[in-house]
Symmetry: C2
């Protein structure tokens, strides 16, 4: 056997594993309360309902074969009905495309929408899974900061006035990961108008929209323009193991994604798509189930925020946690969250330093905390430990 | 609303849907016997065994969460054991990577192994799903024809002698799709030697290896060199709905694929991977099941080949169908299979003209026939209709 293997592509040298993944490996100790993760709570996933749906699907042979690249027809019908309600217009079947989680939609859209060197506008702090894909596609990335009302449209407007012409703007409009904020109704309308006036796409990435705690998020950006490509997913409301995400986009975008999906992996799983269709079509059950998840996450979020403000409110601000899975905190006293992390781990609590999500700003005084997988008492204890660590 | 949508990437103009997919849409009529498809027979898929495995997986919450990008650990262990036996050396866990069908491995490997303009050597006729991916990756494609013993190493040797340096050679070593042939044991050893001498990778794409009818295929090319990346899948022996393929490759290749899989779709389905692990680990059951599939496909293949030789043997040669899903036929009397197709459809039989798989040769006198989804009498009738069509 030869001892030297053939070479790999040069571009691999420029790719690296997400800092968060590396961090999670370090913090997976039983004595550490994990606020660093970003997983939905498996205890809240509808195991028995999924088992019943799997059993029903597997009582026929129709779930065993390859399925269409765009997704199993009846699932697309369920999604079209659901998204019609959500967006407030009749969504035709040709505009619904099922992906292997929303991440696959981001990856295929990067190919469908980006020429080499194209400009992509992301939010700062950014959803890292999107950022990695856009960078790997060779896009030029410009970041627009978030404030309490979401993407700062004044900064975007300035960029456009300077002649910047993005291929698309990526936004997590609801209960941002990691930023915790939700784009206001007015900004949604204005973003849609800017997209039409300047001829760019908006990718509205919405995995968390259903997970509101007190009141629903405003209607989607997609309700205001056909320039918006809307992504959503069953991962956070049912189970990520289905690997069922979906896209609502103009027919030509869906056909481009279809061509690329054929090469990427041929098609999704007819089995998990039939299971997803079963649960998503069962509206009464689903409403009750999502309500249970909302209730649990809402209590946890409020416990975390309450404890944070009690123990650290004099030196840091944190988001209200109106929905989703994350709270974002900014220290106002110069605390360097990256520098404090080893001490936090020593004290038995883990979080993700803001730097992991930073694009143009450094977010060295910020952190992301995930509240989904611990109970209220544990989350309170986590904040006590955090307060001890920052000293 | 604006009537003009923003533009798509320029590269989309160069992509097109597979001619075979377009053909299948035309030929999906109940009065047509389909030899054109390429699907395994859903009637032979182990529905009840899959239902039992789904039920077992869903009796715990462990199958509901995101799983590792490289695949669910216990599935990788089952695959490592299986591949160790197959390749004849101890395959460590780090060298096993689970993909969303073999197609995803091809797509990610194209990114991991190819710099822009790199040379890829494919077989002629080619597996179209691979060809599309390599073309989309911007590779320079050179084709090497098949003969009865598989990839013609004399032609490959000439190319290497002329200074051609491929990044990799792609081969469907067993029961080729569409060519029907299997690479001889001697050529496997020689291909591995060439790969080591000239420093290229071999992608040994093996979805059909288990489906031998009379005797097993020779040991894999991967048994002869670490330069070989071996791909296999549960799609043809269990069900494509699991979307469970796998790769055996050196650690550095697996780590490159892992980085790209994170961006492509984060991870596979913990649910279908647990189901796959259950069935693949159940060796006694699996051996009996695969034997049943072999028996059914073998009888069908022999019926097709027998009828073909009886009715068309005076004007065409066809492969022996020693395994897999396809028979390849070459007309020696100038019959143009593309020109005859409309008449064949009028006579109630569909096949795929050789041109659909052609790279450098035109294969206008050739055709691919799939024997998996019809019984022996129907396949015989298909050939009677075909003979009538060619006149």
């Amino acid at each position: 056997m030869s001892s030297t293997l053939p070479p790999l592509a040069n571009k691999l040298g420029g790719l690296r594993s997400s800092a968060i993944r590396d961090l999670l490996k370090l913090t997976a100790r039983p004595d550490i309360i994990g606020l660093a993760g970003g997983l939905p709570d498996a205890e809240l996933m509808p195991r028995e309902r999924l088992a019943a749906a799997a059993d029903a699907a597997l009582s026929h042979r129709g779930c065993l074969q390859y399925t269409e690249s765009a997704g199993w027809g009846p699932l697309r019908e369920v999604l079209a009905a659901r998204e019609s309600t959500r967006i407030g217009r009749e969504v035709p079947l040709a505009e619904v495309f099922v992906t292997h989680g929303s991440q696959q939609a981001l990856s295929l859209l990067a190919e469908v929408l980006l020429d080499p060197g194209a400009l992509v506008i992301v939010e700062d702090p950014a959803y890292v899974g999107a950022l990695q894909v856009f960078r790997a596609a060779g896009a030029r990335i410009v970041a627009v900061p978030l404030d309490r009302d979401g993407l700062r449209l004044d900064v975007l407007t300035d960029l456009l006035a300077k002649g910047e012409r993005p291929a698309f703007v990526h936004t997590v409009s609801n209960f941002h990961n990691p930023g915790g904020v939700t784009m206001s109704a007015q900004r949604r309308r204005e973003l849609a108008e800017l997209a039409e006036r300047h001829g760019f796409w908006v990718i509205e990435d919405d995995p968390y929209g259903e997970l509101w705690f007190d009141s629903p998020a405003p209607e989607p950006v997609a309700a205001h323009s056909r320039n918006v490509i809307r992504l959503s997913s069953s991962s956070k409301i049912i189970s990520p193991a289905l690997r069922v995400g979906w896209m609502v986009a103009p027919d030509e975008v869906c056909r481009g994604v279809e061509l690329l999906k054929q090469g990427a992996d041929l098609c999704g799983s007819a089995l998990t798509q039939q299971i997803a269709a079963d649960l998503l079509a069962d509206r009464v059950w689903l409403a009750a189930h999502v309500d249970t998840v909302r209730g649990a996450y809402g209590s946890r979020a409020k416990a975390l925020v309450h404890a944070f403000r009690e123990h650290l409110g004099h030196r840091a601000n944190c988001t209200d946690a109106a929905g989703g899975m994350f709270v974002w905190a900014d220290f106002t006293d110069g605390t360097d969250t990256q520098a404090v992390l080893p001490r936090a781990l020593d004290n038995g609590v883990a979080y993700v330093p803001g730097a992991a999500f930073a694009v143009d700003t450094d977010y060295r005084n910020s952190m992301r905390m995930c509240f989904t997988t611990s109970d209220e008492a544990t989350l309170t204890e986590a904040i006590v430990r955090l307060a001890r660590a920052v000293g």
